[in-house]
Amino acid sequence: MSLKDDLRALALVAFWDVRKLRRYTFFLAMRFSWFLLQVLVFGLLVANMVSVGDLDYYKFYVVGAFMAVLFSMSMVKGHDIVEEFEDGLVDYQLSLPVKRKVLAIGRAIGGGISAFLHSLPMLIVVVLVLGVSSLSAVLALALASFVFASSLSGIAMGVALILRSSDRLDILMGVSDSLLVRISTIFYPIAAISGVAVYYYLAKVNPVSHMVDALRLIAIPEEYQGSAVSSPEVILMFLAGFAFTAILSSLFLLDRKIEGGYGR
């Protein structure tokens, strides 16, 4: 198969997840309501109570709330895969004339597009609330959100393919949400947690911290420059390395280990 054929297959596989948007109408409405409540009510209240140096905590919180939504939207893709396992759809996809690597990347990108589209209304709220006026910054926010969503979706799908159980996945997702979201700079500035060494260093190496701070550096660069988990260059390198490792692991898993047969 030529590169052109592979790219065509990649686009079609990615479209598989995008097709499912309509099933999430109620879920999206709930998430959007939750987000508006977080940003327009709790965010304002908390920002009045919290003071971290010169940092505008409200702006910090708004981006964090968006990242939390993007994270959970991406993790939902893991549940989708388990459901597809149960319905035999993974068997179906594994039988298609598509290379395993193309299938893995296509599903991760499809999951990313899907999670990104799910969180797009919330991204628009972030842009409006923070007053991001530069088109390049808006596009960079969108692109970064899409890349993060794809990476997280790919990981969630890979984990789901290994676990093959909605119960085990629920437990793991609950734990990962607690650890990765809470022990990160999503809601707590790195300066504010520097007093607790374990918490501080875990947050420093948490990829979610780097993702959310990358978004903040794009959305509110001047105000956030000195408060991020690392310098912009280090964040970029960290995320590139993380994405590279995640993609390689997923490809290895799907290529060598994954096979059909839910319940076997």
Binding site: M1, L12, K20, S95, L96, G261
Partner: protein, 315 residues
């Protein structure tokens, strides 16, 4: 004609359970090969290994010379499978799903739309094109599943229970469509529990039991392998006693001859070759034959012979 699918020493274990246990089998290019076996015999597992959905624990399968373990991407380009249970998201509608499938297997968008419409009309499911999959009847879902394979037309087409849940008319239509696919020089593997389907479609049959091949041949060959499987029934007039039964037994080389209410039953192999000898023997003994009929064993008999006997042994 060469070998389309070569299976050698195939083993597939799930934990300690061997679903397929040292299977060897050649499926010829351009034939319809029927795979028979009771539930849990390893049929579907074998098919899913050929389709690269499962990986073999031991052994290998080659499809047109490409190994499922060494070059699965090549195998997937040659093989397509219609699953026993239809595969779709509940939010799918049949038309979108089939267009997506058609494009994945190589159609352009416009060709996919045209081809999908044609196949949906042929299978009489066009009117259901916009419904959610969850709203469709079992039969309609099954038609959508097999439509995928008729769109794909792979070199090796695998149908797992293709007409389960379908009405009689549609079953015959699907059988015709499978035979038409064979005319296009495709190799077709049909796993089925429906003996009428196996008899109607298969050039050759394999009977699989506990992960092993127990019998292989054309339907006629397998029927002939049942000892004294054919039954000649004579409606007779005249004196018939033990001497007549003994004479028939000698002449036809069978021990199974019996007489009940004027109906003489003789159990032999290849009855069509022996009926003349039987009539001649009866005539010599002064018995008049009013009518004669020959019954071949059905594939049900074949199935029981090769698997049922062992089931009894296993008890």
């Amino acid at each position: 004609m060469g070998v389309a699918v070569k299976i050698r020493g195939l083993v597939k274990k799930f934990g300690n359970f061997a679903a397929v246990n040292g299977l060897n089998l050649d499926i010829e290019e351009g034939e319809i090969f029927g795979l028979l076996g009771p539930n849990g015999s390893g049929k579907s597992t074998t098919l899913l290994i050929i389709a690269t959905v499962y990986k073999p624990t031991e052994g290998d399968v080659e499809v047109h010379g490409h190994s499922v373990t060494k070059s699965p991407d090549e195998v997937r380009r040659l093989v397509g499978i219609a699953f026993q249970e239809p595969k779709a998201l509940w939010v799918d509608n049949p038309y979108e799903l089939l267009v997506w499938h058609a494009m994945v297997v190589g159609y352009s968008f416009l060709d996919a739309r045209r081809a999908v419409r044609e196949i949906m009309e042929e299978l009489e499911i066009w009117e259901h094109r916009g419904k959610l999959f969850s709203e469709l009847s079992g039969g309609t879902r099954k038609k959508v599943e097999i439509a995928k394979l008729f769109l794909q037309k792979p070199k090796v087409a695998i149908f797992d229970e293709p007409t389960a849940q379908l009405d009689v008319t549609t079953r015959h239509k699907v059988w015709d469509m499978i035979e038409a696919l064979k005319e296009e020089r495709r190799t077709i593997i049909v796993a089925t529990n429906d003996m009428a389907e196996a008899d109607r479609l298969s050039d050759r049959l394999g009977i699989i039991y506990k992960g092993n091949l127990k019998a292989l041949g054309t339907p006629a060959e397998l029927k002939d392998r049942i000892p004294a499987g054919d039954v000649m029934e004579f409606s007779i007039e005249g004196q018939a006693g033990e001497h007549l039964l003994a004479a028939l037994s000698r002449a036809l080389n069978t021990e199974r001859v019996n007489l009940t209410n004027g109906t003489l039953k003789v159990y032999v192999n290849r009855a069509e070759e022996k009926v003349a000898v039987a009539i001649e023997t009866l005539s010599k003994m002064g018995v008049k034959v009013r009518s004669v009929s020959i019954k071949e064993p059905t594939l049900d008999d074949v199935f029981f012979y090769f698997t049922g006997a062992q089931l009894r042994e296993g008890r």
